[in-house]
Symmetry: C2
Subunit: 312 residues, 2 copies
């Protein structure tokens, strides 16, 4: 979970943009259908955004970051529940990283790891609030609670802005590290929280069973890793490869999409379907829903000139 602090309102062509932009600056407007919302996630297939009105709340004066090691995904879920209860209004991020993703970052950066011992899972917890003393007290109480209850095996708390950045780099450096090590199959998916990490384990087991996973050069897959945002059940599943091998693709697809469909997830959480996933929309939307979408596309773009070849 990362909270996005700005609210963005989109202005739709056609029509008088002056009128429209005035209206879209309002936070409440219940006069008719909320057409702007149709554009969110439409990937440009319905029209062109010509203006955006952005609301910018003030930045919170107090920011804190803690980094944990945990023994299981069950403990990660417990820690997340405690954080929601105790940190509540100041909890601004609760990020999940598995050991594999952290090993990849270490391999590329050679930076000193935040915790000496290695754990199957790591979490980064960020708080943002208006009073540094209050936030520090809440975070300290939370840390003591999750350590005493044995939920968290080890943890560290950033002491200043530099340490906050250093800890975040272990989470935000994953994508770059993967890029340094060869090819990557990436999936940005949304799965009910309980089964979130099961997706990584099942994919790893499947790749391994096919003899494609290993430490030596003849194995095309280096590792199957996962990280994501606990707050909205969003997993980034990454299959790191040494070289291209069509067997990997055959093993992954449609397996990944079928698994997600069976577990009530979405095959595109944050990034939309784009070109690559256009043929897989059926795994997250039934025929009726796709039919309703096609009707809207035909209505507003009868000549199919808006971002063509996309999912509709």
């Amino acid at each position: 979970m990362r909270k996005y602090r700005g609210h963005c309102k989109l202005v739709l062509k056609p029509g008088s943009t002056e009128d429209v932009s005035k209206i879209l600056r309002l936070r409440k407007n219940n006069t008719g259908y909320d057409l702007k919302q149709l554009f969110v996630g439409a990937e440009g297939t319905l029209g062109i955004i010509t203006k955006a009105s952005i609301q910018c709340p003030r930045r919170s004066p107090a920011q804190n970051v803690a980094f944990f090691g945990l023994e299981s995904f069950e403990k990660v879920q417990q820690a997340f529940r405690e954080a929601k209860g105790q940190l509540s209004e100041i909890l601004s991020a609760f990020e999940l990283m598995d050991s594999g993703s952290q090993d990849l970052v270490f391999q590329v950066t050679k930076n000193k790891r935040p915790l000496e011992k290695r754990y199957p899972f790591y979490c980064l917890v960020e708080t943002s609030g208006s009073n540094p003393d209050h936030d520090g007290e809440k975070l300290q109480a939370f840390l003591e609670c999750v350590m005493d209850k044995g939920i968290v095996a080890d943890g560290t708390l950033a002491q200043d802005e530099t340490q906050i950045k250093t800890l975040w780099a272990w989470r935000e450096g994953i994508t770059e590290a993967l890029g340094h090590l060869g090819g990557v199959y990436k999936y940005d998916v949304s799965i009910p929280l309980k089964q979130l990490y099961q997706m990584v384990e099942d994919t790893r087991a499947r790749v391994d069973a096919a003899g494609l996973l290993g430490d030596s050069a003849e194995h095309p897959v280096r590792d199957v890793v996962g990280y994501g945002h606990m707050g909205d059940s969003n997993l980034h599943l990454n299959i790191s490869t040494r070289h291209y091998d069509e067997r990997v693709e055959g093993i992954l697809e449609p397996f990944v999409y079928e698994w997600i469909s069976q577990h009530g997830g979405s095959i595109s959480a944050e990034h939309g379907l784009g070109l690559a996933k256009k043929k897989y929309i059926g795994y997250s939307r039934n025929d009726t829903m796709v039919g309703l979408m096609k009707q809207i596309k035909n209505l507003y773009d009868p000549n199919g000139i808006m971002n063509p070849y996309k999912y509709i």
Copy 2:
């Protein structure tokens, strides 16, 4: 501003509701157009909601309420800015009430007023957080700041749950009080914050200039009052009448809608257009927007059987 603490997700017919409801339980799903959003504010004109999935965050353990008297709407805006900065993550309501609305509540309930002296404006500030001590400290510091700076003329802080309810009754009792005193013309509108209260003043001046406003029985209008939510610039404009008089209606409409349109507001903030305001949609949406809406209505409900006679 009142924060709504639950997230509600709607399930759309037709289609397999089982599939759909699974998907709608996800917080992130970017596969195609977000059709659910079209239903929000559509007032049942596009289809029938057959299931809703509701997310219930825990109730905050700490709640506080303060009640202020202020000398001008300019001071109300200053107090609101200070509250956003200092109370920030725990600010859960900032309600505006004018003296007229409070006089009506007093007239009906005869309850003891929260503040001895009378002021042109009152505000109710509510905080909700996870730590009662922290919230109390923040609210105390905020109170001292707005009193020292002369923003707030007088104020009181609820000491327990009963006092919280008593203070809220001065805000929430307005609608009931209006109902006890005869007829009411009600407008639920959204206006850029700076001009929010100007709407009440201009309406009062117009009714007064027409000789319709006064203390005695021959005047159809008893008072023109306003209250609302500062956080989303939402004003409830109420014209309290003694008896029906068609001159009042002639004075109010289309004046109110024209005023809002000129000031870049919306004629329906919270409650939708319904039957009463269907012919006024043009004051908040231009012809192009209304045309796009009509096309969607015809597409999904070609026989016009979904909540007919409404705004489209």
